[in-house]
Amino acid sequence: MERDRQASRFLSIADRVINWSRKYSLWPMFFGLSCCFVEEAATFTSRYDMARFGAEVMRPSPRQADLLIVSGTVFKKIAPVVLRLYEQMPEPKWVISMGSCANSGGMFDVYSVVQGVDQIIPVDVYVPGCPPRPEALLEGLVILQEKIMSTEKPSRKVFHLGGGTQGTDRPVLEIGATKSRDPRGPGYEGIPIRGTSILPGGLHWGNRSDLMWTPPARRIELSEADLALAAEMRERFGDKARLEPHSSDMLTFEVDRGSVKDVLRFLKNESKPKYKRLDDLTAIDESARRNRIWNKGLAEASSDAGAVESFSRRQPGRYPDFTVVYQLLSFDTAGRVRIKSGLEAEGGAGLPASVTDIWPSANWYEREVFDMFGIRFEGHPNLRRILMPEWWEGHPLRKDYPGRATEMAPYTLEDARKRQPMDAMEVAALDHKVPPGEREFFLNIGPHHVSTHGLLRCIAALDGETIKSLDLEIGYHHRATEKLGERQSWHQYIPYTDRNDYLAGSSLEFSYVTAVETLADIHIPERAQAVRVLLAELYRLSNHLVWMATFAHDVGAMTPNFYTFAEREMILDIIELITGGRLHAEFLRIGGLAADLPEGWKEAVDNLTAIFPRRLLEYEKLLRENPIFLARTKGIGRISLEEAMDWGVSGPNLRACGLAWDLRKKLPYSGYENYDFEVPTETAGDCYARYLVRVEEMRQSIRIIEQVVRNMPSGRHVTEDYRYAIPERREMLKDIETLIHHFVNVTRGMKIPVGEAYGATEVPRGEHGYYVVSDGLGSAYRMRVRGPGFANIQTLPIMATGESIADLISIIGSMDVILPDIDR
């Protein structure tokens, strides 16, 4: 009796000691999925300093970690990896689910996303937010500490006495049994989820957008050079390549399938100017076009019949089953051209020909089209899925494919066990067409790895530490942003654009609204233009600071991280002051901005521009004057200008090869032509050149910001064209028409005229563009996202083959990759 009491006293003291120790020694795994991880990383830096709680010892290996912070979207392709990492952690272990995506799928109720990580692993603490602020994560940690202290009784388990509790003891949730499918929570069954009612026409009748009148889409005047090219095309290809009469953005030809390759080859090599770069290659599923079978009644009823007619092909109203779209870019004259080619699902004249022999970069683009639409390309060397896992069924961007995860079978623990990523050797065999030898040493670097900057999987065949060949497997971060674009209304899509590159925030909204505004011919007030530039440059600074930190971290320097994040917080403070957001500003609106600049913005920005150059110099000297840093970057990961152009590389990576190609200069938008700045270039094309270019870009950004602040125009922040914009509240309260516009645009969303347009801006990583196709409805018919990363990362094997593992890491670091704009 007495002994029992003593034993239990001992155990309860032991409980307390062990719990106290564990509480202050929660080592998190170095593991991030998407946006939230950036905030998680910020939590470790100076302002938030997670180290105070003893939790800064980030362990890259699950074996030494106590805490798994699931920070970001759990994709169906990565879920097996998350599960494995969790299971590889030794007992006891805890899980914090950080952010809406990990909690419930959040805003990504879409085919590729698991609707909550608690369906595959147990969760202790949920941290809400999209993304949660660092303070929120700190609170999550404190809650977990309290949970450990107050509810766990580990000593019986530790001493093998039977009983006791430690670590996560909650069950994995099961859809239907312990978890509701409805993202709004239980109790809403029977009420449709908002947004489902705005399916594109054809699938849904009686859309009220038709009742709204809009002028036809913008129509550009072709320049003389364009006309000359059109004439030459006519001469050369006759009737096989037809000029689109009505284009909103660029010279557009419709080409017969058989001649596409000839036309492209001509445009790349012979035409004047030469269109050297394959900007984009994608497709549109035309099967759900509303006027596909010409509905005369509808045409007459609809007042913009003219626009519809000019846009629809020669046989009015006749759309093919699919359209394959090629977009080319000329560096000489800074111009683009679009080639479209129809395709019938049944019969027809065979498959479209692969253009991989003209542009090597077409390889991935064609694979993507195959993956998303099921269109096969004749002569493609390795046509298989790229974004979706191999076991996936169906082609998600087809119109008859369900968009929502909640419309599909739930993703379960069983799936996560069964659906394993492809074996490294299989991938290599498929990519190289030669079966690798038995003795080949394959190393998976990623998808969970400290230095892949996200869910990128590199499969390296090693000889010692030298990389003999490198294969990339992407798609672990496929958030189905293009499918979402077809579902969300034009305005609702803006928050998704931020998340297409979570380090560049507004820059991406900028690209998107530019595309829509080009299509609908909306004119933006000068003040809004200047604020857009301001935000874009602030985000460029913030992005490059993160890049600098991670690049330095990749080559082994741990401290720059903390320094640059201090200035980054300063920038985020300004952004927060102006927009209310940190990572995702969601501040731009079609037609302008969400609000005017707040009081005190000028002082905050001036404060930044005053100290930033000096600080930058200080941080930069830490690296630039360090012989080890130079040895790790100079001459490493070279790519020639010719290769870079061929592969569609853009942004600082291209400029580091010696071409001063910057959309802000070459195809100015939003008033960039009024600012005095330079486009830094380097010629070496190696990691160090990429470093120099980005650092100089930061200085130039500061210059632009100074000019914006100095010359900030006064006036409206949103266009008066309320057909397309959400009216200012002040005016909305004045007259009934504006109120109606506000009501309609906020609830149903505005209507964008039938047509298509491409809009791109120079985001920190290069050219990020949106190709929006409208069928005259409240949401896009097709939303194509052209991310710079997709093209840039394709060159990684070229740069890294023959180098060592350490070099691969510094190359990835120098390229500034981010997964959401690769996998989208």
Binding site: E87, Q88, E91, F442, G464
Partner: protein
């Protein structure tokens, strides 16, 4: 019995005996740690937990692979130089005693050693980046 204050077993002499006792202490400490590590803590085996970690992917092939030759080449250089280093070190203790003649002989030896080092250097024996395609870094 030997006088206790002297000899190999003397506890007052900082000799091998003391080292042996220290080693035993250290080993006891480490053994206790290893024992605690193995004994304490809940054990929960699962197939995934005992699978080697490779970035969350099921590893391909074996993790025991043959390392390419350059590594062994350098290891052999190391062995040779280490043995020769032993000569230098023995000379160093008696360097005053052997005086100038000793120094002359040893400097000849060291110069020879340096020459050998430069020779393998020139022959590329010290280049580990044998397949680097951009080897100019």
């Amino acid at each position: 019995m030997q006088p206790v204050a002297a000899g190999v077993m003397s506890p007052f002499h900082a000799g091998v005996f003391s080292l042996v006792v220290f080693t035993i202490l250290v080993m006891l400490f480490i053994a206790s740690q290893l024992f605690l590590a193995a004994w304490l803590g809940e054990k929960k085996k699962s197939p995934e937990k005992s699978r080697p970690y490779e970035c969350g992917i099921i590893p391909t092939g074996s993790a025991r692979f043959r390392y390419p030759v350059p590594f062994y080449l350098v290891a052999i250089f190391f062995l040779i130089f280490d043995v020769e280093g032993a000569f230098i070190i023995t000379w160093a203790v008696v360097y005053r005693k052997v005086g100038l003649p000793g120094y002359e002989q040893m400097s000849f030896f060291i110069v020879l050693l340096l020459a050998g080092l430069f020779y393998i250097w020139k022959q590329g024996g010290l280049d580990w980046r044998e397949t680097g395609k951009r080897a100019d870094s």
